[in-house]
């Protein structure tokens, strides 16, 4: 991801700010798959994914006048989408399957067992939401530590440490899956 808005997105953004919903929809189209991936992997449910993205996109549209351009439009959208996810998770009372504060080395053993018997998808789902979000944003979507920190409201150093923990768990599962794959 770059901090510069491509010319076409810049144009769409300017039009969207003037109330052009088509331009806003076109602007979203470039990010929608990434948003779907992030939200689906955080919530695990397609209908809730749609509900959250509806809410996030409407909030983003209404918030365009306040978008000052200090961050990339993509980062700004991720932040809105991620916050909408947190709200939804909290509303549902299941923000964390494993509280992050309790997810220490001892949990690694549990994760190892998970990794051994389940694939990447399940290993990802077993991570605390905060770790899932970090690895998805950085490795799947290509954000920098600073951009991810901006989205998640964390310090870049925290991002790096969480990323290491998430990668460690997912790597095991990925390698096991690859070893076990036919051919």
């Amino acid at each position: 991801m770059t901090d510069e808005i491509p010319a076409t997105d810049e144009l769409r953004l300017a039009r969207a700010r003037r109330g052009d919903t088509d331009a806003f929809a076109a602007l979203l189209a470039a990010f929608d798959e990434s948003h779907r991936r992030l939200v689906f992997r955080l919530l695990g449910d397609r209908e809730r994914m749609d509900d959250v993205l509806q809410e996030a996109y409407v909030n983003a549209y209404r918030g365009l006048p306040r978008f000052a351009g200090r961050s990339a439009i993509g980062t700004w959208l991720y932040r809105i989408v991620y916050n909408a996810c947190l709200d939804e998770l909290r509303r549902a009372g299941r923000r964390r399957e494993v509280p992050l504060d309790e997810w220490r080395e001892g949990e690694g053993e549990r994760m190892e067992a998970v990794a051994q018997r389940l694939d990447l998808e399940a290993a990802l789902a077993a991570l605390p939401v905060e770790l899932r979000a970090v690895v998805l944003l950085i490795d799947a979507e290509g954000l920098t530590y600073h951009e991810a920190a901006d989205v998640l409201g964390l310090a870049p150093g925290t991002i790096a440490s969480r990323l290491n923990r998430a990668r460690g768990s997912l790597r095991e599962s990925l390698e096991l899956t690859q070893k076990g794959a036919p051919g």
Partner: protein, 415 residues
């Protein structure tokens, strides 16, 4: 800090299934984007919210579920985007076959209101001038004037109590309940929606009729265990009728005795709060999108909170921060516990009848980190959280859902 990407893991993550949107997603999104944005108008929260809650419910197509809290909020803004006043005659009946009381009312987007009893046995006249923060009351030979009103709960704030008695319970009821269905009907020859929904109180259900043209509820029936338990309706409804400022002020009659009360609150800039109350006020580091600070008030002494069953100690050194988002309101207050923190009960609800027990919550951030609080989402009370933090009693009360209340509570920090 240099970013490193695990490209192999990234590719694997991108290779996982990503569901497509449902078939209605784009059409629904475009419909919502096309709706006019909220205009920030400080309505009387009770009436505004109930109207909007009902409107939000009826925008859900027939046969679908109840509107989500987000949809309700969205509808609050949309329903009142173009209205400056709502007026009419509020007709209330508490008992089956009993007589009805009638009140002419006008509610202004400035926050001012006027409620006048109709009929020989209903001489009460109440007006609130939001600009001057003065409430007037006239009842036979007595004329009262209230100044120094608090911005919001749990302290004494202006109240369109006649209308609230009927309407505010609906807000809380719909916020605390789930389920319900909507059908299209004719109401006195006009197209309307009929919403049937639980109230949130055990055994209680509501039937709310909404005029489709204006989006305003015109009839409300409460049933308890299937039997009539009260109703109200709005006759002669008008939207955006002229309401001159003078209508929100009363003058005493020649023969009336005059009484004046000062409830002790004064509006101050946020920066001056600590100099008045002697501690740094708690301000939110996070607010739901669109909320803005509306006013700040302080009181060195204020009436005790709570109710007849459990009256809290006298409120001392109260700081009350009030925020608005269009029709939504949020009030954050702090006050000294005094010598005995254990003497305090819920300042907002007191010990009034509750449909359920408050939820004990562990607060995980900000000035309240590590404190236990009580979260109350109840059809009989404004949604709120309260906690004791060191020498302070803290309340967060307003038109927020569970997640928002907790997030605001956990974002409070001393300023």
């Amino acid at each position: 800090m240099t970013t490193t990407h695990d490209h192999e893991l990234g590719a694997a993550l991108r290779g996982l299934e990503v569901p497509q949107h449902g078939p209605e997603f784009e059409a629904e999104l475009r419909r919502r984007l096309a709706q006019p944005p909220r205009r920030r108008r400080p309505w009387l929260v009770a009436v505004a919210a109930v109207l909007a809650v009902v409107v939000a419910s009826v925008v859900v197509p027939r046969g679908s579920g109840v509107a989500s809290a987000a949809q309700v909020r969205e509808a609050i803004g949309n329903a009142f985007a173009s209205a400056g006043t709502v007026s009419g005659i509020f007709v209330n009946r508490e008992q089956p076959g009993g007589g009805a009381s009638r009140w002419r009312f006008v509610l202004s987007s400035s926050g001012s209101f006027r409620i006048t009893g109709l009929g020989r046995n209903n001489p009460t006249d109440v007006a609130y001038d939001a600009q001057g923060n003065v409430q007037y009351g006239s009842d036979l030979g007595l004329f009262t004037r209230y100044v120094g009103l608090a911005p919001g709960p749990p302290d004494s704030a202006s109240s369109a109590w006649v209308v609230q008695r009927g309407l505010s319970s609906v807000i809380a009821a719909l916020a605390a309940s789930s389920g319900g269905r909507v059908e299209q009907i004719d109401y006195h020859g006009r197209p309307a929606w009929l919403l049937r929904t639980p109230s949130g109180n055990p055994g209680e259900r509501l039937r709310i009729t909404v005029d489709r043209e204006t989006g305003i509820p015109v009839h409300y029936i409460r049933l308890r265990n299937g039997r009539f338990a009260g109703e109200w309706r709005i006759d002669e409804l008008r939207v955006d009728a002229q309401a001159p400022a003078e209508r929100f002020r009363l003058r005493p009659g020649k023969d009336q005795s005059r009484t004046s009360y000062d409830l002790g609150f004064q509006r101050v800039p946020l920066a001056e709060v600590s100099a008045t109350v002697g501690y740094r006020p708690l301000v939110p580091g996070w607010l739901p999108s669109g909320f803005e600070q509306d006013e700040v008030a302080v009181a060195n002494d204020s009436r005790p909170t709570g109710d007849e069953q459990h009256q809290n100690p006298l409120s001392r050194e109260v700081a009350s921060l009030h925020y608005r988002r269009g029709l939504d309101e949020l009030t954050i207050t702090t006050r000294l516990t005094g010598a005995d923190p254990s003497a305090w009960g819920d300042p907002v609800t007191g010990s009034s009848v509750r449909a359920g027990e408050p939820e004990r919550v562990s607060l995980g951030g900000g000035a309240l980190r590590g404190k236990m609080g009580e979260l109350v989402l109840d059809p009989n009370s404004v949604p709120h959280v309260w906690a004791i933090a060191g020498p302070l009693v803290v309340t967060i009360a307003g038109d927020l859902d569970r997640a928002e209340l907790l997030r605001v509570a956990e974002s409070l920090h001393a300023r």
